[in-house]
């Protein structure tokens, strides 16, 4: 039993070490969210509530942007939740590994199921599929320990700095730049490029639609364009 315990423990720290490079992404984004949130008029409690309760940067930024446009609450929620829908795929992909755990463990795993913890875990479980379940859990939470505390604390630092940064720094532009940084590396396949182009053109053409609904309509069509293009490409490659 001691051996298993040691292995789980060392797996935890291996997860931690392998999660450390993400500091380079997590800290700047967390700080930026704190800064931008404060600039948008949120107080520290509200900014921290976003980062602690939601713990999903892209959707937090999109909620801020839409609230600043005075979009209705329901539209803010629908759009920002759409940004997080990819996590349903993460949840499904982890069922073979974590599906049979106690509910309490699954609740914690779900709360910490972010891009980085998912990507690293799925890679690890693919490379070492037969390791004990305790090791898999340890690895996951090792990654989480490397990134989550830094996400919270960098948000706090950003929120404290926020109000003191002069307008000349054009921090309003941090949100578009962050989203470009997240999306651009995905624009490597034709379906993704077509989706992004449809989204941009649709959102601009439909900017007149009230309640920021134009974006949701544009996103809906863009999603279908991407899926259709992927299907066509697959059929073409198969034939």
């Amino acid at each position: 039993m001691t051996a298993t315990y040691n292995t789980a423990k060392s797996t935890f720290w291996r997860g931690y070490r392998e999660g450390l490079p993400f500091i380079l992404v997590v800290v700047p984004f967390g700080t930026l969210f704190g800064v931008v949130g404060t600039e948008a008029g949120l107080d520290i409690i509200q900014v921290m509530s976003f980062s602690v309760l939601v713990i999903a940067g892209a959707s937090q930024f999109s909620a801020l942007a839409l609230m600043a446009e005075d979009a209705p609450t329901i539209i803010v929620l629908l759009t920002s939740l759409a940004v997080n829908l990819r996590m349903a795929m993460y949840s499904a992909a982890l069922v073979p590994h974590f599906g049979k755990l106690r509910t309490k463990t699954k609740l914690w795993i779900s709360y910490f199921l972010v891009d980085q913890s998912f990507a690293m875990s799925i890679k690890e479980f693919g490379e070492r599929p037969d390791q004990p379940i305790d090791n898999k859990i340890s690895y996951f939470f090792g990654i989480v320990l490397a990134i989550a505390p830094l996400w919270y604390s960098s948000t706090l630092i950003g929120a404290i700095m926020g109000a003191s940064i002069p307008d000349a720094f054009s921090l309003d532009f941090a949100v578009p730049i962050c989203f470009i940084a997240l999306i651009a590396p995905l624009l490597r396949t034709l379906p993704h490029i077509l989706t992004a182009i449809t989204s941009v053109i649709g959102a601009l053409l439909l900017a007149w639609v009230p309640y920021s609904l134009g974006l949701i309509i544009a996103a809906f069509f863009a999603m279908m364009v991407g899926a259709y293009a992927e299907l066509k490409l697959e059929q073409k490659n198969a034939s």
Binding site: T73, A82, M87, D167, I177, P185, L215
Partner: protein, 109 residues
């Protein structure tokens, strides 16, 4: 314009609960259910379908300039897109985007 605190809290609460339910969906609620292929195929593109449309107006009609197009912001966005695609680098896109923004703002000031 100051944001309404009640609205902020509705958004925080709704987004927190909704996001958690998305994450817990299959692990806790739906179990090992197979999803139809067409559904997964669409899900794959949701992020790329929403975010570009969200930021396009922020880049072309920024509130900071009263909604008129601003050369510095457009060039900054293009350079961030270019470096993001070319170098596959999140941090690189942020750094180059802001560098371009500041340099062009300085040169045109």
């Amino acid at each position: 314009m100051p944001l309404d605190p009640t609205k902020i809290w509705y958004v925080i609460t709704g987004l927190a609960i909704g996001t958690f339910l998305i994450r817990y969906s299959f692990l806790g609620l739906l179990g090992n259910r197979e999803l139809p292929t067409w559904f997964l195929r669409h899900l794959n593109y949701v992020g790329v379908a929403v975010l570009p449309g969200l930021i396009a107006p922020l880049i072309l009609w920024p509130a900071a300039t009263g909604g008129s197009p601003d050369l510095a912001r457009i060039l900054a966005a293009l350079s961030a897109i270019a470096i993001g695609i070319w170098k596959n680098s999140v941090i690189g896109a942020v750094l180059l985007g802001f560098s371009t923004l500041y340099i062009v703002q300085f040169l045109t000031a």
